[in-house]
Structures are given as structure tokens and as C-alpha cells.
């Protein structure tokens, strides 16, 4: 009999079932909740989760840490805004455009970076630099509204992707989160995902087994960028506003990576758990200390440092360690 200390990864159908339960559960919750505050809380938590899940695809499963993930967020956001304002496009049509654009930017940056073998710190630096370049461009160019930003005019209605209450937006972002969960689940049970993790764990060994690391990494960054772009497009719809600081700024980049790391990189539920935990923490802080500028980020930074110090596998990893300890004791 095996004395494996690691339980087998849950089968595909089990994970799909859990995702289904989650989707239905949260949808029901959203239908039951009435207060704007509560609905907004859930919406923002799900939004943070979406960003974290997007980062997790490239960072957790792909092993490529991007410190400038806002690059894709901002692209999706600006395309969503500009397509509506200047192009008169319906937001439901603009969103796939935004997703494609951000995935495209991902492919561009990825093609350059991976073609020249950038990894680790260098890759993180390059993503940071690209995000900064885009931010400065957005700040200077008129069609992005420059420093003032862009406002999407209020035109309520389902057909216009502007829902009357937060509930509609929360359901929409829930849909995106569930989609991200499904894609992540696919990564865990597919050849592409197996190849991606192989490249992450040992690129040479992967090449010897017939994997083309360049193509795999490009696929990952496109997926990751696409989801970030969806997050950006969502932001524009929910807040009807975007500016260079929000679009391409450090805050967005950090929010994406901290959630995934705190929750557990390379896991299915980690980013969700991490984003939720951080969101609750930020909310608590706001209630305790008021709306202090920067306090959120200080918390994120401190939590990040503490996590790396004491629980580098994230909360999910902590959970797994506790389970293993328990198993060991009951043997």
C-alpha cells in the first residue's frame, strides 16, 4: 500500500462539483442579501478574487511572477471605455474586445520576454517597466483622457451592462470568477496545464519530454492577461470611470499578486481564499482606523512579508500542513 504523505489530487468531477456548489451558493447569497453595503462587499471581494485568479494562472501555475499585471487590467479597462465612448459599441460587445486586447498585449510582452529567456526577477522587472510605460502613455495621450481619465456615461439597463443595484454587478463578476475557476480546473486536468507546470518546475526536463516552453508560456500569459482584462472591463462598468493610476498603477498589480500568494499559489481555491481574507482584513482596518490613505497597501505589504516569512505556501498551504500534521499524529 502506498505510504504517500500527499493525498491524490481531487478528481475532475469532484472539483467541478465543488465549483458548481460555490457558484450556486454565492448566487443564492446574492439574491438573499439586500443591503447595498453587503452586496458591495461581496462584489469587491469577488473582484479581488478575479484579479488574484488571473495572476495565479501565470504566477502560480506558470511560475512566472509578474509585478506589473496591471498592464493587462488597464488595457482591458481602456478598451472597454473607449469602445463605448468613442466607438459607440455596446458594452457586451466591448468586453470581449477588451479581453482580446489584453490577451494580445500579454502575447506581445510574453513573446518578447520569453523569446529572450527572461525569468524570475528579470521578468518581474520587465512587466513592471511595461506597466509603467503604459501608465505614462495613458497619462499623456488625449484619447485616454490623459490624467483626467475617462467616464462612461450612465445608461442603466441590462442591455447596457449597467445594473441598477450592486447585485447585478456582483452576479456578473461572480460569473467571471466561476469562469476563472473552471479554466484553472482545466489547467489542473489537461495536457496544457501539465505542460505548464512542468515548465514551471523544471524547464529543461520539460523540453526533454517534448514540451515547447515558449508556446506554453505564451498560452499562459494570454489566458492570464485575458482574465485581467475582463477584470478591467468589469471595473469600468461597475464604477463608470478609469484613469491611468487605477488602470496601470501599482495598486492593481499588487492586489492581483498578493491575493494569490496569501491564499496559495498554484491552487484552485487559494486566490479566492486569499483575496477574501485580505478584503476582510482591509474592511476591518477601515472600520477601526477610518479611511487612511495607504493603510490598505500597508496591510497588504505586511501580510505579504509575514506570509513569505512564515507560510510561503499561503493559507492553502497552511491548511495542507495542518492536515498533514493531523494525519501524522493519528497514525
Amino acid at each position: 500500500m502506498t505510504d504517500g504523505t500527499r493525498t491524490r489530487m481531487p478528481a475532475l468531477h469532484k472539483e467541478l462539483l465543488r465549483i458548481a456548489i460555490f457558484a450556486v451558493g454565492v448566487a443564492l447569497l446574492l439574491n438573499v442579501l439586500d443591503s447595498g453595503v453587503a452586496l458591495n462587499f461581496v462584489m469587491m471581494a469577488l473582484y479581488a478574487a478575479l484579479l488574484a485568479q488571473a495572476w495565479n494562472i501565470l504566477g502560480g501555475y506558470g511560475g512566472q511572477f509578474s509585478f506589473g499585471h496591471a498592464l493587462f487590467f488597464g488595457t482591458g479597462a481602456y478598451v472597454q471605455a473607449i469602445a463605448q465612448i468613442d466607438g459607440g459599441l455596446n458594452p457586451w460587445l466591448a468586453m470581449p474586445l477588451g479581453v482580446l486586447a489584453s490577451a494580445g498585449v500579454g502575447v506581445f510582452v510574453g513573446a518578447l520576454s520569453f523569446r529572450y529567456g527572461l525569468k524570475g526577477s528579470y521578468f518581474a522587472l520587465v512587466t513592471l517597466a511595461f506597466a509603467e510605460v503604459f501608465r505614462i502613455v495613458a497619462l499623456s495621450v488625449p484619447f485616454t483622457g490623459a490624467g483626467v481619465g475617462l467616464m462612461v456615461p450612465l445608461r442603466e439597463g441590462f442591455g447596457n451592462m449597467q445594473f441598477g443595484s450592486r447585485r447585478g454587478f456582483a452576479l456578473m463578476v461572480l460569473g467571471l470568477v466561476v469562469l476563472a475557476l473552471l479554466v484553472t480546473c482545466w489547467l489542473r486536468h489537461s495536457r496544457f496545464g501539465a505542460y505548464l507546470q512542468a515548465v514551471r518546475d523544471n524547464e529543461d526536463a520539460a523540453r526533454a519530454a517534448g514540451v515547447n516552453p515558449f508556446r506554453i508560456k505564451l498560452g499562459a500569459i494570454a489566458l492570464s492577461g485575458g482574465f485581467m482584462g475582463a477584470g478591467g472591463a468589469f471595473y469600468v462598468q461597475a464604477f463608470q470611470y478609469i484613469d491611468p493610476g487605477i488602470a496601470y498603477g501599482a495598486h492593481t498589480s499588487v492586489e492581483a499578486l498578493v491575493g494569490a500568494i496569501v491564499g496559495g499559489m498554484g491552487t484552485l481555491w487559494g486566490p479566492l481564499i486569499g483575496a477574501l481574507a485580505l478584503h476582510v482584513l482591509a474592511d476591518l482596518t477601515r472600520n477601526l482606523f477610518g479611511q487612511l490613505p495607504g493603510i490598505n497597501m500597508v496591510i497588504y505589504g505586511v501580510v505579504l512579508v509575514l506570509m513569505i516569512l512564515f507560510a510561503p505556501r499561503g493559507l492553502g498551504g497552511l491548511g495542507r500542513s495542518v492536515r498533514e500534521l493531523w494525519k501524522g499524529r493519528t497514525k
Binding site: M297, G301, V305
Partner: protein, 294 residues
């Protein structure tokens, strides 16, 4: 000849800024060369140092240049403590953890500053802030602000001191040993943890000095670190990771490029130029102009 006349002040300004860039980059180079980590917290640490100098002036009336003997040791101790207490422990042997921890530290530092000092940009007033000095090289003249000249001189002196420390002292020898061959150095009886922390401390001490030279001619706000960190990285990569002479020359070069770029293309596009140069160097020549392959 007329072109040079217009460009000359810009070039001079670029050189003075470049010298300070070089000092910043040297600290980063030392940290990378010895610990082999990219210190994402370097810009935030500079920002903290700038606030330190600012506060010493506003609260205690200490002139920035006189604050050197305070700032340099203070930043050194901060660096030593951070490396020994946090970064070292967080690595767990994996490089990616260090990446994330320095990022985390930079986030904490930057936003603590935001919390305490708010986002306003602050400057200091000294007796010599507005003094200018004429420079005449025959076919071109320019008026350079005195603080910038002092910054130029001071940064160069500090850089030379740093290079001498690493090249000529026992500590420097230990640093170079650990940088080249960590395990061998350990077997020789060198306390590697201590050397790591010393290197990080010295790297941050450079920032303390740079801040003293920078503030009289510049300003401080919580975001100022971001601008410097990417420029510093550009210099380090351009100069060749781990090459002191590369960082020094690279710093001066970048300073001039930024100045000329700003003059010819405007502020924003000038900045973008630096970042694009950075990306280009990372992609096409990561060993930089002087360094060996990283």
C-alpha cells in the same frame, strides 16, 4: 556650436543627476553582486531616506549635508537589520521568495510614508538652494544650481569611497569572496550571514548619502521611489549586473540621456525613453555594456 550651447546646460544637469543615480545604482549593484537579489525595496528605501533628511531639517534644523553622519549610519543599520531579520529568514532558500519579500517591504515602506506624510510633495529651503554657479568651458556656458554641483561632487566622492571599501579593505575582501563563492568563503571562516547583512547595509547607506545630496535640489513625496527604482535598475542592468564601473558610467550616461530626452521630447516621453531603453537592454543585452552574463 549653437546646438552645444543649448545642450550644454542640459548635459551638465544630466551629469549632476547622473552622479546621484550612479550612487544609488552602486548600492543596488553591491546588493545584487553579493546577495544575488534584485532589491525591489531600493526605491522605497531612498524615499524613506529622503523623508529622513527632510524631517531632520524641518524638525531639528540640521542642514542636509551635515546630516550625512546621521543618515548614512542610520540607513546602514536599517539595511543590516532588514537583511538579517527579515529578508534572510524569508528566503527559505528560494529566490522567488526574496523577490516577493522585497516587494512586500517596498509596499509597506511606501505606504507608511503615505500614511504619515500624506501625498504632498515637499521641499526644503536652505541658504544656498537658489545659489547658482556659472560654468564656462569656452565654447559653452551654463548656470548650475550649487546644490546640484555639490551633489555631483559628493556623489562621486561617495562612489569612490564605496569602491575603495570593496576593493581595499578586509571587509571588502570578505564581500568579494562571498560574492564569488559563498560556500568556499564559509569554509574559510567568513561569517556569510554577517557579510550579507553588511552588504545590504552598505547598499542602503549609499541611499542615505544620496538622499542628503539629493534633497536640496529635489523634492520628496511617497511615490518618488518608484521613479528612481526603475532608473536605478536600468543603470544596473545597463552597466552590467555586478559591475561597479559599469554602474558609475551607466549612471552618468542615463542622467545625461534623461536630461537630453526631457529637453528634446518633453518630460513624459523622456521618462518612457528610459523605460524602453531598460526593456531593450533586458531583452537584447542583459549582460549590459560592461558586465559578464548574469
Amino acid at each position: 556650436m549653437t546646438d552645444l550651447f543649448i545642450l550644454f546646460p542640459s548635459i551638465l544637469n544630466g551629469l549632476t543627476t547622473g552622479a546621484v543615480y550612479a550612487l544609488i545604482a552602486l548600492g543596488l549593484t553591491l546588493i545584487y553582486g553579493v546577495l544575488h537579489i534584485i532589491n525591489f525595496a531600493h526605491g522605497a528605501a531612498l524615499m524613506l531616506a529622503l523623508y529622513g533628511v527632510y524631517w531632520l531639517k524641518e524638525a531639528a534644523g540640521i542642514d542636509p549635508y551635515l546630516a550625512l553622519p546621521i543618515m548614512v549610519p542610520a540607513m546602514f543599520m536599517l539595511g543590516y537589520g532588514l537583511q538579517r531579520g527579515v529578508i534572510n529568514r524569508a528566503s527559505h532558500g528560494k529566490d522567488e521568495n526574496i523577490l516577493l519579500v522585497t516587494l512586500g517591504l517596498s509596499i509597506v515602506m511606501e505606504n507608511l510614508a503615505l500614511l504619515f506624510f500624506k501625498s504632498d510633495t515637499r521641499t526644503i529651503e536652505t541658504a544656498y538652494t537658489l545659489t547658482t554657479v556659472p560654468i564656462d568651458i569656452g565654447f559653452a556656458q551654463a548656470m548650475i544650481a550649487l546644490p546640484k554641483l555639490v551633489a555631483f561632487g559628493g556623489a562621486l566622492v561617495a562612489s569612490v569611497v564605496l569602491i575603495l571599501i570593496v576593493g581595499r579593505t578586509d571587509l571588502g575582501r570578505a564581500i568579494r569572496a562571498v560574492a564569488k563563492e559563498k560556500h568556499g568563503a564559509k569554509l574559510m571562516g567568513i561569517d556569510v550571514e554577517h557579510v550579507y547583512a553588511m552588504s545590504f547595509g552598505i547598499g542602503l547607506a549609499c541611499l542615505g548619502a544620496a538622499a542628503c545630496f539629493l534633497l536640496p535640489a529635489y523634492y520628496v513625496n511617497p511615490q518618488v521611489g518608484n521613479g528612481f527604482v526603475l532608473v536605478a535598475f536600468t543603470i544596473v542592468v545597463l552597466g552590467g549586473m555586478g559591475s561597479f564601473s559599469g554602474a558609475l558610467l551607466g549612471g552618468l550616461l542615463i542622467g545625461v540621456v534623461e536630461s537630453l530626452g526631457g529637453l528634446l521630447l518633453g518630460e513624459s516621453l523622456g521618462q518612457i525613453g528610459i523605460f524602453l531603453l531598460f526593456i531593450a537592454v533586458l531583452l537584447f543585452r542583459p549582460q549590459g555594456l560592461f558586465g559578464a552574463k548574469a
